[in-house]
Symmetry: C2
Subunit: 271 residues, 2 copies
DNA sequence: CGTCAAATTGATCGACTTCAATGCTCGTGG
DNA sequence: CCACGAGCATTGAAGTCGATCAATTTGACG
């Protein structure tokens, strides 16, 4: 997610007109997919005969729609996506953001339909593996089965962390946790953990954190005020990781103890 | 989850002393597991030779701990569990509740350690499948691989729904959504969707919804006041499903439109 | 029957939502 | 090249909902 984009491709996040502008699938080797997902061993000589194609998705367009028939599961090879559900009144509940090396659409396997939509936040690319071939492919190419298991397991963990985000007491803490998560993922993928270029707009972040988008804005300002961050639009520089992490650890009172947790400004802050 | 328990086994939810009181594993047939998970075809003659054991977990004790080494993944055959993370100060963040036919611990596969703990809310039983055998077993017993895929996919969907719960504007709406989910799961498993016997305490619900436990209590009272529910401790009867579902559909304003949404029923309520 | 945890209810204060207005960025077209 | 518009972002003001502290009741279990 939020890869440092050279020429600042901006995400289109309106999502009210999710037209589907997708290039035709290019044939790709399974080995490419395995390499992307970090599998060491090769897949065998026949890898190329199995149906794994590559698809490009432009910024703002949907990879699949909520309720749509599950045709494939996807592995993100470039760019990033948001996954979300749309309420009757049009409100978008953002469930999460998915980046390179992560899996999309597996939650549709059990019911044959996508429980949520996915839309690209920037020009992106995915490998597509037809749903109907999941089981047979897994049997023929064990390495693929393994890769799928691992990716899905990781995704399961990530989804569990949503609760940590949204349950935090204050809006600042939620934002802090979000940024720490982001930073850790940046580091895991070998990039600078201190310089983030957000691929999503404030509104999407707000939805994901369960607050109003104005509150996200205010929280950014607050974190900047107590010298945790430097914020310029979608560029975020983490100035004080220690304090940010400390802040992100704040919890709702343990019910038995909960002393005076002065929100983390303290002495030198903003003055 | 929340199965109607004859003699009201109560959940121990303190969880501050998660002693591990677990019976030795009984050898069980893979066919039993497949039957539990709704797989029609049998597993083949050799099923019984593979290591799938059954374990009993008593109310309040942990099936596995946060950070613990992943020894197996589990399929719940009886009872229910809560999954949760514990903060440094002891606060328990409840990620979800897991019942019969659902999978536990798969999120540990990718990193070899459990990202969260699981504790039984009532006397429960699980099938345990050693983590190290997941891939090989899947290769030898395709039906098992298939069952696992489906169960994990379903769990992924369920985790995604956490956000819907916790992002709701008001506490009453969150509780309404929680109850509707519960009700639908009851119905899916062939039980009455109107009579719920909660296996978890208010505090766990509160944590799961991201509010204080007092607020959960007040929300129950409120829903009872506008004749949606009849509540008696952990027994909940849904009186007006239509209104409950309508309420659960309330969203944070779509930002472009959002007229006067008078909460649920009439305006006389404490206004 | 007495103890302890769970659950309910009340009162107060702070934080967040909401409404509203302005500034900023970027893409488009004159 | 610059002006303009559209969506994004920031900031302000006011009302409301929920967290927190606190007291009481109910229920479970020895």
């Amino acid at each position: 997610m939020n890869r440092p984009i050279p020429n600042s491709e901006q995400a289109v996040t309106g999502m009210t007109a999710p037209l589907r502008r997708v290039d035709a699938g290019d044939r790709t080797s399974i080995s490419d997919l395995l390499r992307l997902m970090g599998a060491e061993g090769d897949a065998g000589a026949d890898s190329d005969r199995y149906p794994v194609s590559s698809r490009q998705v432009q910024a703002g367009s949907a990879l699949f729609h909520e309720g749509g028939v599950a045709e494939a599961i996807y592995f993100v090879s470039m760019g990033s996506f948001k996954i979300f559900r749309t309420a009757e009144d049009g409100y978008e509940q953002v469930l999460g953001f998915v980046g390179r090396g992560e899996v999309l659409g597996f939650d549709a396997v059990w019911m044959g339909r996508h429980p949520m939509a996915a839309a690209a936040l920037e020009p992106s690319r995915v490998y597509a593996m037809p749903s109907k071939n999941i089981f047979t492919l897994g049997q023929y190419v064990p390495a693929l089965d393994r890769v799928l298991h691992l990716a899905v397991s990781r995704e399961l963990t990530r989804r569990g962390e949503i609760a940590d985000l949204m349950a935090a007491v204050s809006a600042e803490v939620r934002l802090a946790r979000f940024l720490v998560h982001l930073s850790e993922r940046m580091q895991a993928s070998g990039q600078s953990p201190k310089h983030l270029l957000l691929s999503m707009c404030r509104r999407d972040i707000a939805s994901h954190l369960g607050v109003a988008h104005e509150t996200v804005s205010r929280s950014f300002s607050a974190l900047a005020d107590w010298n945790c961050l430097r914020v310029s639009n979608r560029e975020v520089e983490i100035l004080d990781m220690a304090r940010l992490k400390a802040l992100s650890r704040s919890t709702r009172g343990s019910t038995d103890d909960m002393p005076g947790r002065t929100p983390p400004s303290h002495r030198n802050a903003r003055g």
